[in-house]
């Protein structure tokens, strides 16, 4: 939204002038509020699962800022004339279960009648003002870790097409419903320089947001990136969502692919994710220890996927 002036006082630590995963506002020298909102249309057939995923997705922005979510408000759009209220109840039950798991208090909400069902949260978290993690602040040599596999956009398209197997549907649903809390808690024990979560722009789209105005570049090792094997199979069958193509078209100028990186891998690296993992940029001396710790906390897919380079600046290079 170019040309708009956003109101902000001196306590806005992260605002729209440098958009990040969430806004951050200083309350005292020790406490800053993190605020974020996210909602979307159903991503799973099962209403309970959809509720869980919507909440895991909304809370993720707080974790990506290095914070702890504390309160939430429900946002509901529901076609009350055409749909059974029992479905809404199941969605909310799934959401509440996730909030309880995250230790978040539900303190309110708002619902409207709408033709299309939507659910999500407005979330408030807290963080120490000196410990905010943004998309900036990384240095040459830092390593990048990704905590969840890529491919949910493609697999969700295969699900819509009725071509996905029951096993992969379950696996992907489980992963989307999984909180990024454990990964966030683990990373706070290490020298982490920057963090973001992977959602609609895809991995490379979100990495582009990191390199813009940073003066530095990023290098991604495609073979090291965790990917659902089924996503490759479905992408080869043309089950690639429009969002993924759009991500590529929009950000391709920032990315240089090595010739050995095939077209399907390129799509997967741009694949729009729902409730994806965290990208954690960490001091190189800490990377192996952090990775080991993440895996020990039950995040088996976590992997070092690349590093920060000084040249070429403002670009992403993808090698095999």
């Amino acid at each position: 939204m170019c040309g708009l002036t956003f109101p902000a006082d001196e306590n806005v630590l992260v605002g729209l002038n440098e958009p990040d995963d969430a806004g951050v506002y200083r309350i005292t020298d020790d406490i800053a509020l993190i605020q974020t909102v996210d909602f979307f249309t159903p991503i799973a057939d099962d209403p309970y699962r959809f509720g869980q995923i919507a909440v895991a997705n909304a809370l993720s922005d707080v974790y990506a800022m290095g914070g702890r979510p504390v309160t939430a408000m429900n946002l509901v759009a529901f076609p009350v004339k055409d749909m059974d209220l029992a479905i809404l109840r199941r969605i909310l039950e799934g959401g509440i279960e996730k909030m309880a798991e995250a230790g978040v208090s539900l303190v309110g909400g708002h619902s409207v009648e709408d033709k299309e069902l939507k659910y999500g949260l407005s979330v408030t978290g807290v963080v120490h003002p000196d410990r905010i993690l943004t998309k900036k602040g990384f240095r040459p040599g830092d390593k990048m870790i990704l905590t969840k596999p890529l491919g949910t956009g493609i697999i969700n398209t295969a699900i819509k097409a009725g071509m996905a197997s029951a096993e992969i549907i379950e696996q992907v649903t489980e992963n989307m419903a999984r909180l990024n809390r454990d990964a966030a808690e683990v990373m706070l024990n290490y020298r982490v320089r920057a963090c973001t979560d992977v959602t609609g722009f895809g991995l490379l789209g979100h990495l582009c947001e990191m390199v813009v105005d940073s003066g530095l570049g990023l290098r991604v090792f495609a073979d090291a990136v965790p990917v659902y094997p089924e996503a490759r199979q479905y992408a080869a069958m043309g089950l690639v969502p429009a969002g993924t193509y759009n991500n590529r078209a929009f950000r391709e100028a920032f990315v240089t692919f090595d010739d050995k990186v095939d077209a399907i891998t390129r799509d997967i690296l741009f694949d729009a994710q729902t409730s994806g993992g965290l990208v954690i940029v960490v001091d190189p001396g800490n990377a192996d220890a952090l990775l080991k710790d993440l895996r020990a906390r039950g995040i088996p897919d976590a992997a070092i996927i690349g590093d920060v380079v000084s040249e070429p600046g403002e670009k992403i290079r993808v090698n095999r």
């Binding site: 057939d45 197997s165 029951a166 549907i169 043309g238 089950l239 193509y245 759009n246």
Partner: protein, 197 residues
């Protein structure tokens, strides 16, 4: 040149599904599918290629005409493609019983019905299991082997995903694929005949 399929204005994965359907309905031949976005064009070309077909794309006034050719010596099939039966009959199993009256009798009859399909002609193209019908495709069913045999013959076996969830039998599916309402509705609409036991 074969049929023309109009997939303009449709979002992914619909054009791919239409291509899939068209390919399933033919042994050999060609058709043209018209799409109005580069995204759909790429996806259709990919799908057809993955099914061992040749494609040629013409761009006309912002629309893409994708010519798909199936069969012929120069084709190297990508994945193994099962030949679907020639009929376009859908069997819609909406209960774990056949007929009304006595439930115990109904359960015996439905087993008999499903075991007999392999011996009759024409055979269905798809079999769709919804509501308590999914007890026939999940663990504990006595007709799993019979259904697997039908699947081997190229008959698509689909179980309603919402129903599997509802009965908490998502992990118990033993034959065919879990499906969704979009797929099930289109399968019923496009069928020449729907058989309800």
């Amino acid at each position: 040149m074969g049929d023309i399929i109009d997939a303009r204005g449709l979002a992914c994965p619909q054009p791919v599904l239409m291509t899939k359907k068209a390919l399933e309905g033919m042994e050999e031949g060609s058709f043209t599918i018209v799409v109005d976005s580069a995204i759909s064009k790429d996806n259709v070309v990919r799908f057809a290629t993955s099914q061992g077909c040749d494609t040629r794309v013409e761009e006309k006034d912002g629309e893409f005409h994708v010519h798909v050719v199936k069969g012929g010596a120069e084709n190297t099939p990508g994945e193994e493609v099962k030949e679907a039966p020639a009929s376009n009959i859908a069997v819609y199993v909406h209960s774990d019983r056949m007929g009304q009256g006595d439930d115990a009798l109904g359960r015996i009859l439905i087993k008999g019905f499903l075991k007999t399909i392999k011996d009759v002609d024409p055979k269905p193209r798809r079999m769709i299991f919804v509501n308590s019908g999914i007890f026939l495709t999940t663990e504990g069913s006595e007709v799993i082997d019979a259904l697997k045999e039908l699947e081997e013959m190229g008959i698509e076996i689909l179980s309603c995903g919402t129903c599997l969830d509802f009965f908490n039998r998502k992990d118990a599916l033993k034959v065919g694929l879990a499906s969704n309402m979009f797929d099930i509705t289109s399968a019923l609409m496009e069928a020449d005949k729907v058989v309800i036991p």
